[in-house]
């Protein structure tokens, strides 16, 4: 082989240097073409005082959330409240004050006593502004067509639970589904890892004939367990922790969370054979719970904190139409609504509403902290409530099943919390007829248990 000459070596070295510089320069030009940041929109936080104690003061508080300021300080916001005594009539405008503390919302108004103590409660909506960008938003989005509605707890049934004693959970009457992790029919999918946590089937529902339908989103299907066996139906879902509801005509509704490519939540309506009928974006940014309402699927959403119907008689409602139909409670087939408000560490307020009038109400207090309300549904002349209780000190949890009437709790029991894999947040229990069903999981697989509510124990 011929030895390279000095000139060749020098030329090659110069070529490498110039080439590398050129490559870096081209890369820099490419990177400089990155999209410029957009300004994030205005958002807000407000927890409405749904059920108030008569005679007490009422302060409405709002957090205004805007694009982060370069100086790191909070938004320069302002806002107005449009409020009225009772549930109809003209609204009166009140300006929000800006406080020093933002723990419960920096912007607030103390309602005048004639509004706070009005016999039929009060209703209101807010128009909030970011003075820096000029952006405004109405909360709830339905404005005067669907305002926040607040009701006084008069003639309330008081229930004191005291200190919960763990270790006395009721055993189920029947295990109706036991499915190992896997992908075959009769098995259910498990996603995640030990490092990141596991997610299993995220929701389920029970038909009037007792058929249990499980959203097996990891395997993109719905599986139905009946006395005839197991049947799997493929559905086109993203695989996120979705909620699920069966309608009486066999329609299957899947409420998907936001994900990496679809930043807004979407409700998908599927026919019984798994073909998609429609998909509709929700009015609000966040959802808590999906339920089959009297006219179609309805969703408890945030920031409105209202139940918004997403379809009526099989047809999807646009976002404005959803917002314009917002209600404070979940509506049932008899036209009544159930209102739920968890207050502080251990208080739960509940009311049954007919139109805009409270028919019955309960105030439940517990010395052991209460968590979320998984279920609050009318069952005949009673209200079935499932809430979670937990300890801060030794990580113990139970579900409390409370069957309420005007006298208090004629029946109640505790159910063990068995949740090895994550599910949708308020999808652990379903009521069908006189049976309460519970979705649970262990390292072995998923199960659905049934508890009979009409049995005296």
């Amino acid at each position: 082989m011929r030895r390279p000459r000095i000139r060749s070596l020098a030329g090659g070295a110069a070529g490498i240097v110039v080439g590398v510089i050129g490559g870096i320069a081209l890369t820099s030009i490419s990177a400089a073409g990155w999209p410029k940041p957009a300004v994030s929109g205005l958002d807000a936080v407000h927890v409405p005082p749904l059920l108030t104690r008569p005679g007490g003061p009422v302060t409405l508080r709002f957090a205004i959330v805007c694009a982060p300021r370069d100086d790191g300080e909070p938004c320069d916001g302002s806002g107005s409240i449009y409020v009225r005594a009772g549930q109809s009539g003209p609204f009166r405008q009140l300006e929000l004050s800006r406080g020093e503390d933002s723990s419960d919302g920096r912007y607030f108004v103390e309602l005048p006593s004639e509004l706070a103590s009005a016999r039929d409660g009060f209703s209101y909506y807010a128009v909030l502004r970011d003075r820096t960008s000029g952006a405004t938003m109405t909360l709830p989005a339905g404005g005067e067509a669907a305002p926040q509605r607040s009701f006084p707890l008069r003639d309330v049934t008081e229930v004191a639970l005291g200190v919960h004693v763990f270790g006395h959970e009721r055993a189920p009457d029947e295990r109706v589904v036991a499915a190992p992790w896997g992908s075959d029919v009769g098995e259910v999918g498990l996603a995640g890892s030990r490092e990141l946590g596991f997610g299993g089937p995220s929701s389920f529902d029970v038909a009037s004939d007792g058929t249990v339908a499980v959203l097996d989103q990891v395997n993109t299907r719905i599986q139905r367990w009946s006395r005839a066996g197991v049947k799997a139906t493929s559905v086109d879902v993203s695989g996120g922790l979705a909620d699920f509801a069966l309608e009486t005509d066999g329609t299957m509704d899947v409420l998907e969370p936001p994900n990496r490519t679809s930043p807004a939540p979407v409700l998908r309506s599927f026919r019984g054979d798994g073909t998609q009928r429609w998909a509709q974006r929700l009015s609000d940014r966040t959802w808590a719970k999906l339920a089959a309402g009297p006219s179609g699927p309805t969703v408890q959403q945030q920031p409105s904190e209202q139940w918004l119907p997403v379809a009526e008689r099989g047809a999807a409602l646009g976002r404005a139409a959803q917002a314009g139909r917002g209600r404070p409670g979940r509506q049932f087939a008899n036209g009544r609504e159930v209102l739920v408000e968890r207050v502080g560490p251990g208080e739960l307020r509940l009311a049954e509403l007919a139109g805009n009038a409270v028919v019955r109400s309960w105030r439940i207090t517990s010395a052991t902290p209460l968590g979320e309300v998984q279920l609050a549904e009318l069952h005949g002349n009673r209200l079935v409530v499932v809430t979670k209780t937990y300890t801060d000190t030794d990580d113990r949890t139970d579900y409390l099943v409370l069957v309420l009437d005007r006298s208090g709790i004629p029946a109640g029991f505790a159910v063990e919390s068995l949740e090895w894999a994550e599910s949708a947040p308020l999808a652990r229990f379903r009521l069908a007829g006189s049976s309460l069903y519970r979705l649970g999981s262990t390292p072995v697989g998923l199960f659905v248990d049934r508890f009979e509510l009409e049995v005296s124990r």
């Binding site: 070529g15 890369t27 694009a67 790191g72 920096r106 990496r260 808590a288 937990y390 990580d395 949890t397």
Partner: protein
């Protein structure tokens, strides 16, 4: 001249290939600027900061994003920090939102802008255990706005409480989930504990 041209061609192809790879890694757009030392830190400013990270994706071990409301690399391999995609992970988002120092003995307030690529020294499990001078454990039943719930594998901040007793949680949960606000029941979940930042000023 022939040697120069051959070497130039090879070099520019190699440099271009490296450059192309850098272009396809979001971290090429991030910076390592010093944080701004702050005397204030309010919960609603923290809400705005975390809220603006919504839609910007998730990157395991990451802490850098822009504000274009899209995850630039939504299909990175989960759990691979070398993917260098957009977004924070759960503890990175919390660290930046809580204006913490990379030195775990400092409890001052350090404002990290979105494109500053920093994850911080804490895992979710560290937060759960209240490690680091700025952090402490709180009772879950009294945890409030922009406090957090942490398990050994995840942490999410409380955007606000909700009527049904769960919480709206702002979190970077997983590659497929992205960063967003989700309704969660961590408060009553025994695998989660309450954790908070010292030093809120309003």
């Amino acid at each position: 001249m022939k040697a120069f041209l051959i070497a130039f061609g090879v070099a520019i192809v190699l440099a271009g290939a490296t450059g192309a790879q850098a272009y396809h890694r979001f971290w090429a757009n991030c910076n390592y600027d010093a944080p701004t030392f702050m005397t204030t830190m309010t919960r609603d400013a923290a809400q705005s900061y975390a809220n603006a990270a919504r839609y910007e994706g998730y990157q395991w071990g990451g802490g850098c994003w822009n504000y274009d409301d899209a995850d630039s690399y939504p299909y990175d391999v989960p759990g691979d920090p070398s993917a260098h995609g957009e977004g924070g992970d759960c503890s990175g988002l919390t660290f930046k939102t809580w204006r913490e120092s990379t030195d775990d003995w400092r409890d001052g307030r350090y404002y990290w802008r979105a494109l500053r690529n920093v994850h911080g020294p804490y895992t979710a499990g560290d937060f759960k255990n209240g490690l680091g001078a700025p952090n402490h454990i709180v009772a879950k039943s009294t945890a409030g706005v922009m406090d957090a719930f942490a398990s050994s594998t995840h942490i999410g901040m409380i955007f606000t409480r909700s009527l049904y007793g769960g919480d709206q949680i702002v979190e970077a949960k997983c590659e497929a989930c992205g960063t967003n606000i989700f309704y969660r029941t961590y408060r009553s979940d025994p695998s989660y504990g309450g954790v908070a930042r010292w030093g809120w000023t309003g």
